[in-house]
Symmetry: C2
Subunit: 138 residues, 2 copies
DNA sequence: AGAGTAATTTATAATGATTCTAAAGTAGTG
DNA sequence: CACTACTTTAGAATCATTATAAATTACTCT
């Protein structure tokens, strides 16, 4: 069973029809060892280069949003006008290199546990995200 | 010496001319006990209500950016299309209430120290920001 | 395989935040 | 007061993202 069939199955079992466009995007996003951090604009450009047939920008946006809703992608909060996504959906944190604007994954084991002492009545913690900004040594 | 004179002096010593507009924005931002989290759009609306004379949106943007550059404001990274600013420029973290989209300050003493174990050669840590997302207990 | 339907894709328009522009106004200096 | 550099301003421009509505495609049921 090749990757394509796996993607088709996965999509179908998520209630998403396995269209040509979605399969291409799956290939690009999930057929890689390393985590991938991207904006929808980035992704659209890469798709254009990699495949001959073009995928409409609107479709890329739609797809990324469905994937996010299904939990296959994570949105990342960094200081920016652009929205970044991450193929690593596990609980983890990030380095942001402010010199190059590059994002680097930070495993849970790379961060000593963060404990929040303050409590807000009626509220519960949903997630704890650590963003470590780094820059060049001068 | 009233607050206004203090603002005038502060602005001048930062190399910023104390204009009517900047002084009004200073009053609104810095004459308060509590930290203030806002977008430029928010601020513009509040200014419109509080003062009779209108301040152009472009001016509000310009001013906020100068203040940020001078270190009087901090930009906050939250998952959004909008850019948030914070009058608390000290090292601190935030709760983001995803139900109401409200931001709440988290003192350093409310967070047990975060230590980053991973090192990147040639890079040094500039800041560590923790964003704790909270939601209603169901 | 063909027909019917609901989901999907698409180009394009619309939106909304932010930045740019260039002209008019203002503060600081002498 | 006059000069110059800094500011403000309205409006246009830009850029990411979302909405729209028509055309296309996937799936189901015969």
């Amino acid at each position: 069973m090749d990757n394509n069939s796996i993607f088709i199955e996965k999509l179908r079992s998520s209630g998403l029809r396995p269209t040509k466009q979605r399969l291409k995007i799956c290939k690009l996003l999930f057929q890689r060892k390393e985590t991938f951090h991207f904006t929808v604009g980035d992704l659209s450009k890469i798709l254009k280069h990699k495949f001959k047939e073009k995928i409409s920008l609107a479709t890329v946006y739609n797809t990324i949003h469905s994937f996010k809703k299904k939990g296959y992608l994570k949105e990342i909060a960094i200081n920016s006008d652009k929205t970044y996504f991450d193929t690593n959906t596990s609980d983890h944190h990030h380095f942001l290199d402010v010199t190059t604007n590059e994002l680097i994954d930070l495993d849970d084991k790379d961060v000593k546990k963060v404990s929040i002492i303050k409590k807000i009545p009626g509220k519960k913690i949903k997630s704890i995200e650590v963003l470590v900004k780094i820059e060049n040594n001068n």
